[in-house]
Structure formats: C-alpha cells, structure tokens
C-alpha cells in the first residue's frame, strides 16, 4: 500500500505514525492485501448475514430503569461538576 493511502487511513483512524511505522505498515499492509486477493476468486453466494447465526427480532420493552448507580460509573472518569471532561472543540 502506498504511503499516501496509509497516511490517509491513519488520519481517519486518529493515529499519528512515525516515519518508521509509516514505512513498516505500508509494506505490511501491502503484503496482507496481496494475500487477500484470493477473496476475489471466491464464488458469490445468495445468503446474507450480519452474524453467523441470523439473529433477528430481539426487542426490548420500553420500560425506563436506572440499572447502575450513575456515580459508580463516573468514579474512574475525569469529571467536573458531574460533567465528563473532554478536549477542546475548535
């Protein structure tokens, strides 16, 4: 895979690669995609499935409930006045 593509993909994935990583991953991903070309010759089949067992129609009733103490979940989080702290937006 060429370096520009790897850089583009990395940007989208929010990864900053070092020169050395960029080079290594370009080569590795090229090898891996080369191996994957065997998929092109696989015959198509009719079936469709998001998962292997065909999970369908699993629904929940619309009953509101607090399951866990919200404080327990915020415990390990960086918070301020019960808000979760995040980075700058603009």
């Amino acid at each position: 895979m060429d370096r520009e593509t790897v850089e583009k993909v990395a940007r989208s994935a929010h990864l900053k690669l070092t020169e050395e990583e960029l080079e290594r991953f370009s080569r590795d991903l090229g090898d891996i995609l080369g191996y994957f070309t065997i998929l092109d010759e696989a015959p198509d089949c009719e079936g469709f499935g998001i998962d292997p067992i065909g999970v369908a129609d699993v629904l929940r009733d619309d009953e509101p409930r607090i399951e866990l103490e919200p404080d327990a979940m915020l415990e390990g989080m960086d918070t301020y006045d019960n808000y979760v702290r995040g980075p700058r937006l603009l």
Binding site: L15, D28, F48, D78
Partner: protein
C-alpha cells in the same frame, strides 16, 4: 493442589509463567466450589480490566461480565485475569502490553494466543477452569500449544455482555481446562439468553451429550502442516477409529477463503470498536485537554496502542472505506455465508469435521519475532474456518513432538450442537495418555 495452596502460591506461579495480568489478593478460598480465571478482556468489578492494552491501564469496570457473574453465582472464585494479546490481536500472546506468558512445557516457547494466559493457567494448575475468548482461534490455538482441552461454543451461546469487543460478529466465550469434563460443565453454566446481549437471545437450549459416531476430514486438512503434527493427527485418527468412530474424507472448497475473510471482518469491526479508546471516560485520561479534540484523541491512540493494534486498526479502517468496502467487507461477509453453508452440508452427513488444531507445535519466541504478519495470520489456517462460521469447536490433545511439545486436534460441530463435542472430548480423554508439564515453583 488444594484451593488454598493454589491461592497462596499464585504470585509465585505467575512470576514464572506470567499467565496472569492481575491476581486476587485473597488467600482463603472460603466456601468456593471451584476456582476460575477469566481472560483480561472480560469485565470484573473487583479487578482491573485492560484487554492486554496499555490504553486501558487502571480501568476498573463498574459491572461484571455476564459470564463471570454466572460463574460466581455457581460458586466460583475468580482468582485472576489472564494475560492475552492486546485486544485479542495475536496468535502467540506476544502482543500483550503486560509481559508474555511462557509455555509450561518449554519456557522459551509461546503459550499460543490470544488466550495464552488462560491455557497456561489451565495447564499449570490442574483442575483450574479458565474462561477464554475466541475470535479467530484464540481458544483452540493456546489449548493445543499447552496440551489442554479447549471449547468454543456456538456464536451467541454465551452472552458477550462485559466482553471488550474485538469482532462482535465473531467473538465467542469458552472454556479451557486440563479436564475434558469441565468443558460441558462450565459452558452450561455460562450459556443462556441474556437481555443485555441480543445475540444470545436466539439460542435453543443446550442439547444433552451425544456420542460422536462419525467425523469428516477435509482432504487438504494437513496441507502445509508440519511432519510432527501430521503424525500425531494420524495417530489421533487411528485412536478415534479404535473407539468406533467412522472416519470419512470430504472435499471442502470454501475453507481456503476463511482466513482472509476472517481478517477482513474482524479488523473492520475491531477498528470501529477501538474508536472509543481516546483518552476520555476510561483508561488513561491525563492528556492536555487544550489540544483540539482530533489531536487529543490522536495523541492517546498513537501513544498507547501497540504495534499489532495499530496494524489491525489501519487494515480494518481501509477495508470498510468507500471504494473498498464492497471488495473487502461485503465480499468477506458473503464468503462467510458460503463457508457456513458448506459446513452445514458436510455436517448433515457426519457429527464433526476433524483437522489438526494448529499447523505446527508452539514456536520458540526467537522464531516468532522473525515471522511476518502474513505468516502469523496464516497460522490460523485451521482454527479460522469454524470461527468465522460461528460453529462450535473443541481442541483436544492428540500427541507430542520429539521435544515433548503438545499437539492438538480440532472437532467442529454444527451450530448449537455442543453436546457432541462435550461427549467427544470426554470419550477421547479416557483413551489418551496425557503427559502433564513438570511444574516446579
């Protein structure tokens, strides 16, 4: 070893084998009915959960995974969280951020992966029950390398609530133990519909044990497999025949597509699952918040994800990009359906498909470091097919190579037909002379 002596020697055992990421500080087993460990990608209220990743260091989940909760309800005591490849990304457990577990038969060799710590614990501590997780071979591979029994139930059999996702449509929770009878016993405890995991809600009840009468061996099952493994597998087949199991040959033309299709689906899903790890909410959150959000997230992810995690994130991000999505992601899922159909067709004529578990015995760490990514991905050649198809499968030890390293063979049954695997493993155990590793601490 008694339960208390296991607890008191846990740290010492771990110093030698590095199978645990976290061990309990409890020294008294109390009235625990059994001791168990869980792979470090299952959430536990009382122990850190990191999935082998630096990015989650220090994370204490506020809830137990359903599988752990059910084991506790059944009287189990969680003694530790087992070491693993980061987020399950690996075949040798060498991609953990927290040390590499050592093979009990040879400390210079790998335990396999990604549930390497789990298989190691099962091999070292007799009677220990280890919860493992398999996405593409992560239970059977280490079970085979460590000479123990491992089972992966049908996709959706055990609730994944509390499992840190690798590939949601592939991840399955199972059991590794040195006792074959533990497979059926503990899968039954963890199984069942869970309103917190929709994919667990369509399962039929677990069937009772059903005697294995016939197996089908794909004609190219031993292609590219080492001589030692070939020989042990042949012995295994002879053993099965002597137990009255009918052995047939079968042509399975779709299995060769399983590994690339598996890696496409797994990394596509993984790259979305890992998006949430960004220096907010959990794990490390100590960055400079005055950075713009894109840069802030990028800095954490670049700093704390390991090499293989980055590689798979890149691969998975690429295979679902517009312009490539059809060729990779959509195609791979279509291939999965073909593989499922072929398994179903073969399994309508026999009880299980049989192959060796791994194409070679556990390699030395020095050899692993020389492997390219494609070479290590190809090590999943035999464990990949049942995993992508969500078929239940089990690895049992079937021999040892000239250095005494264990070799395993793998039974694959139809969806929801775990009963035949429980029985096959138990019957096999009666006929197989296992060689336990020498454990000295």
């Amino acid at each position: 070893m008694s339960q208390s002596s296991v607890l008191s020697s846990l740290s010492k055992i771990n110093e030698k084998y590095l199978m645990f990421r976290t061990v309990t500080s409890q020294t008294d087993a109390g009235d625990a009915k059994f001791l168990f460990s869980a792979k470090d990608n299952l959430t536990s209220k009382d122990m850190e959960t990191c999935s082998g990743s630096r990015i989650l260091e220090g994370y204490r989940p506020p809830f137990d995974a359903t599988s752990i909760a059910k084991m506790r309800e059944a009287g189990g005591l969680l003694i530790g969280k087992t070491n693993m490849d980061e987020f399950g990304f690996g075949t040798f457990s060498t991609n953990s951020a927290f040390g590499v577990p050592r093979n009990p038969y040879d400390l210079e060799r790998s335990c396999g992966g990604s549930s390497g710590g789990a298989a190691c614990a099962a091999a070292v501590m007799e009677g220990h029950v280890a919860i493992g997780v398999s996405t593409g071979g992560s239970i059977c591979c280490p079970a085979s390398f460590c000479g123990v029994y491992g089972i992966v139930p049908t996709y959706g059999r055990v609730s994944r609530y509390g499992l840190l996702d690798y590939g949601n449509s592939l991840d399955k929770i199972g059991i590794i133990s040195s006792n074959a009878s533990d497979l059926g016993k503990y899968v039954a405890i963890m199984a069942g519909a869970d309103p917190k995991d929709p994919t667990s809600c369509v399962q039929p009840a677990i069937g009772s044990r059903r005697k294995l009468k016939s197996v089908a061996v794909p004609v190219d099952a031993t292609e590219g497999v080492s001589e030692d493994v070939k020989k042990a597998f042949k012995d295994g087949l002879e053993g099965l025949k002597s137990m009255g199991v009918d052995v047939q040959k079968v042509e399975m033309s779709t299995l060769k597509y399983a590994i690339p299709a598996y890696y496409v689906i797994a990394t596509s899903e993984a790259s979305t699952n890992l998006a949430r790890y960004c220096g907010m909410r959990y794990g490390h959150q100590d960055g400079d918040l005055s950075l713009k959000f894109d840069d802030y997230f990028t800095s954490f992810r670049s700093q704390y994800f390991g090499e293989e995690a980055k590689r798979r994130i890149l691969l998975g991000t690429f295979t679902r990009m517009v312009g490539f999505r059809d060729r990779y992601y959509s195609k791979a899922r279509n291939v999965r359906q073909s593989i499922i159909e072929e398994y179903r067709s073969v399994l309508s004529g026999c009880d299980a498909v049989l192959t060796p578990t791994m194409p070679f015995v556990s390699p030395k760490f020095s050899d692993i470091s020389k492997m390219t990514p494609v070479e290590s991905y190809k090590a999943d050649i035999l464990t990949g097919p049942p995993n992508i198809a969500g078929m239940p499968h089990a690895s049992v030890p079937c021999g040892y190579d000239r250095d005494g390293m264990p070799i395993g063979m793998q039974f694959v049954a139809n969806h929801w037909d775990e009963g035949v695997l429980f029985s096959a493993a138990e019957e096999w155990e009666k006929n197989f002379d296992a060689v336990r590793p020498e454990v000295s601490i």
